[in-house]
């Protein structure tokens, strides 16, 4: 049944590479905003130091904006990286500043909505396998990737 596992891992890899390529094309200009919607009022978000301080760390490299979401869905918090997008290889290596921005947006959202940023459990010590190595690579990048 090993080929089943290999096929499944390959499927994920293909899907992942497709997503990376799509996003790279889509974000190939510096005008694209990355956005989360926070379940809180705009005034509360804009004035909260957990938001302002988190993005202050980026300096002039990242600009932000805040707007009310329609239908009382809270506040849209957007951030934009001024420099050109990183290459796919840099993203795989975790060297794309957009990954840090996505992670920061998610962390700020969670802090404002729950007061905390959830940490997962540490992995148990299973036998090292190629499939496991791929999963570990994806999990290391997963917080900074995804549809934002």
């Amino acid at each position: 049944m090993r080929w089943l596992r290999a096929g499944a891992v390959l499927g994920v890899a293909v899907a992942a590479s497709g997503a990376v390529l799509r996003r790279h094309t889509d974000e190939d200009d510096t005008s694209r905003w990355l956005v989360v919607t926070v379940n809180a009022e705009p005034d509360a978000v804009a004035g909260d130091p957990r938001f302002t301080e988190a993005f202050a760390a980026f300096g002039d490299d990242v600009e932000t904006r805040v707007a009310a979401a329609p239908g009382e869905r809270g506040t849209e918090v957007a951030a934009r990286v001024r420099q050109a997008p990183a290459r796919a290889t840099a993203r795989m290596a975790g060297h794309d500043p957009r990954q840090d921005v996505r992670r920061t947006l998610r962390d700020v959202k969670s802090l404002l909505e729950t007061g905390d940023v959830l940490r997962t459990d540490p992995p148990t010590t299973g036998k090292p396998t190629p499939g496991g190595a791929l999963v570990r690579l994806f999990t290391r990048r997963a917080g900074g990737e995804g549809r934002l």
Binding site: A8, K109, E113, T120, D121, P123, T124, F138, R141, A142
Partner: protein, 393 residues
Amino acid sequence: MKAVCWQGVNKLSTETVPDPELRNEQDVIVKVRYSTTCGSDLHLIGGYVPAMQAGDVLGHEFLGEVVETGAAVRKHKVGDRVVVASFIGCGGCWYCRNDLWSLCDNTNTNPGIASMAYGYEPGGIFGYSHAMGGFRGSHAEYIRVPFADHGAFPVPPEVDDRSALFASDSVPTGWMGADLGGVAAGDVVAVWGCGAVGQMAARAAMLLGAERVIAIDRIPERLAMTEQYIGAETIDYSTTDVGAELRERTGGRGPDVCVEAVGMEAHSAGPHHVYDQVKQQLRLQSDRPTAVREAIHACRKGGTVFVLGVFGGLVDKFPLGAVINKGLTVRGAQQHGQRYIPMLLDRIARGEISTAHLVTHELSLEDGAKGYDLFKHKKDGCVRAIFDPAASA
């Protein structure tokens, strides 16, 4: 501590792993009293969800006793007997506030993985791969429960452990299928699958006012159990033309609501099962949607099909034409347990919902692999094998 771990495709073992620890202030640590096998675990074990690592702890449906609480926990104290929703909900995002708990924005700690497959990531879940957060599962002596004020619920004293266990997932999942499927007084409801979730969906439909509930399976013990403990009519699909039988029993109309409680590894009696098997094994489709297709064809015009079974990816030969031309509503969801669990525990306490009969085998953690072998192959009449971490092999 001891835990049942995934070691590779169709390989399980019981290992000694580090005890869980509080990692967020809203966590509690629960000493597990019972944890049950679930059909959706089989997808992980069989390699259909390719985001597992060797050593991952399985299990997401459980109850136990609180033994440690984080500094921000308000509703629980050490010694509380709690049942825990299998999905982790933060309680603060728009989805949790709108009772769509399995869609929580803040509990899937690996959002980049599932959002590639689905567009957006669902919430985190215990013991259900790194695509769903990488949280350790409940087939262990202890488990960490994040956002415990929202996901752990005290068990009424009159409800025993075995009965309360299934309020973690099977009962709310089944209830959700009938509830969000829009079951109303006088409806005829058909349920595909007589496992625990299918039985609970059938019971929920009855309690929500359905006039007739018809459950479909091929395993004699499960059909008999559904008739005896749930009170539903049954159809054995291995000996009966399901579509013709449903038409006859519904005056030619078809069921008003069809609930699919089978999932991605469906069986059937026809050649399409071979077709689906081959395509799935060749990874030309990830899931076998046999029961979904049948439900869509059987459902009355303008009716509702609710997909409760777990599907992971892509399916072939989906009858979209039937959906459009019959004016069907098709819905699906992972369970929003936090929305229903307190109400369901009360119903279990009042005797309106029977669950303890689902336990056909009780084993120790050391028998983890054996438990899944019994469960997967339905040996010895197995409906649910449950694990008691306090028991010795």
